[in-house]
Symmetry: C2
Subunit: 127 residues, 2 copies
DNA sequence: TTGTATTTACGAAAGGCTTCGTATATGTTT
DNA sequence: AAACATATACGAAGCCTTTCGTAAATACAA
C-alpha cells in the first residue's frame, strides 16, 4: 500500500469529496487553503499518477483525474503506520490520547459508545 | 513544537523507556529492530541535539543524551497533526477507524469505556 | 611509548518532496 | 491567419532525511 505524503493527501481529499476533477479544479480548491502555483499542483498530480495514486482520462484537452485509492483503505493504512511509529503498536493508547484531548460532540460520543457495545457483543459471542 | 521524524521517534522511544543513554546504548537497542550503523545513530542524535529534541552532558568521554521533550507532549502534537492531515480534523472519525480495525483487549476496552463515562459526566456538569 | 579500540565530528552522497520556470502543444478569438 | 489563453511536459533547484566513510581526539593496554 502506497503512503501518500501530506500534499498528496490534500489532493486525494478533494477528489474523494468532489469526485473526478481537472488540475484547474484541484488547484482552485488547494488555493483556498494555501499559496500554491498551478504547475506545482500539476506536477504533484503527475507524480501521483505515476505512483498509481490517481488515474486519468486524456481524451479531452484537460485531463480528468480520479482517485485510484479509496479513502477508507488509505486511512486504514495510515492509521496502522501511525499507531506503529507513534504508539508502538498500542491502538488503545492512541484512542485514549485522542479522547482525552479532543472535544467530541455528544453525537460522536454516542457513536463511539455504540461501536464499543458492538465490539463487546462480538467478543462475547466468540467465546 | 518540533515534529520528530520516524527515525527520531525510535530514538526518543528508547530514551523515554530506558532514560538517559549513550550513543552506544541507543545503537544497541535500534540494532535489535533493524540494520543501522553506529555513526548513523550518532549523526541522528547529533542532529536531534541541534534541533533541541535532546540534551546531553559532555563530561565523560561518551556523551549521555536525554530526551528534551516528553512522550505525552510529543504524542499529543503528533496526534493533532495526524488528525488534521488524515481525518480533516475529525478526531471521532479517527477513533472509529481505530476501534473498528484493531483488536483491543478487554482491559483496554474497559479503560476506554471508563474514560467515556468521565467525559459524559464532565459534559453534563458543564451544563 | 606505541599500538588498539572507542568516541565524536564532519562532510558528502543518495533519495524523496515541493516548488516553479520554461518550453511546447492545443484550442479560441479577432 | 495571427495573437492570445490555457494545458501538459519536463527539468532543475532547494530542502530535508538517512546513511556511511573518514579523520581526529581520547583512553587504555601491551
Amino acid at each position: 500500500m502506497v503512503k501518500p505524503t501530506d500534499s498528496e493527501l490534500e489532493i486525494l481529499h478533494v477528489l474523494w469529496l468532489n469526485g473526478p476533477s481537472t488540475v484547474r479544479q484541484i488547484h482552485e480548491e488547494l488555493s483556498r487553503n494555501r499559496d500554491i502555483g498551478y504547475t506545482t499542483a500539476l506536477k504533484l498530480m503527475q507524480i501521483m499518477y505515476e505512483k498509481g495514486l490517481l488515474t486519468r482520462t486524456e481524451d479531452a484537452r484537460s485531463h480528468v483525474y480520479t482517485a485510484a485509492v479509496s479513502e477508507e483503505d488509505t486511512q486504514r493504512s495510515l492509521v496502522d503506520r501511525f499507531v506503529e511509529t507513534t504508539f508502538r503498536g498500542s491502538a488503545s493508547k492512541l484512542v485514549m490520547q485522542v479522547l482525552g484531548q479532543h472535544k467530541a460532540s455528544r453525537e460522536e460520543l454516542d457513536e463511539i459508545k455504540n461501536l464499543l457495545k458492538q465490539i463487546d457483543q462480538n467478543t462475547t459471542d466468540e467465546k
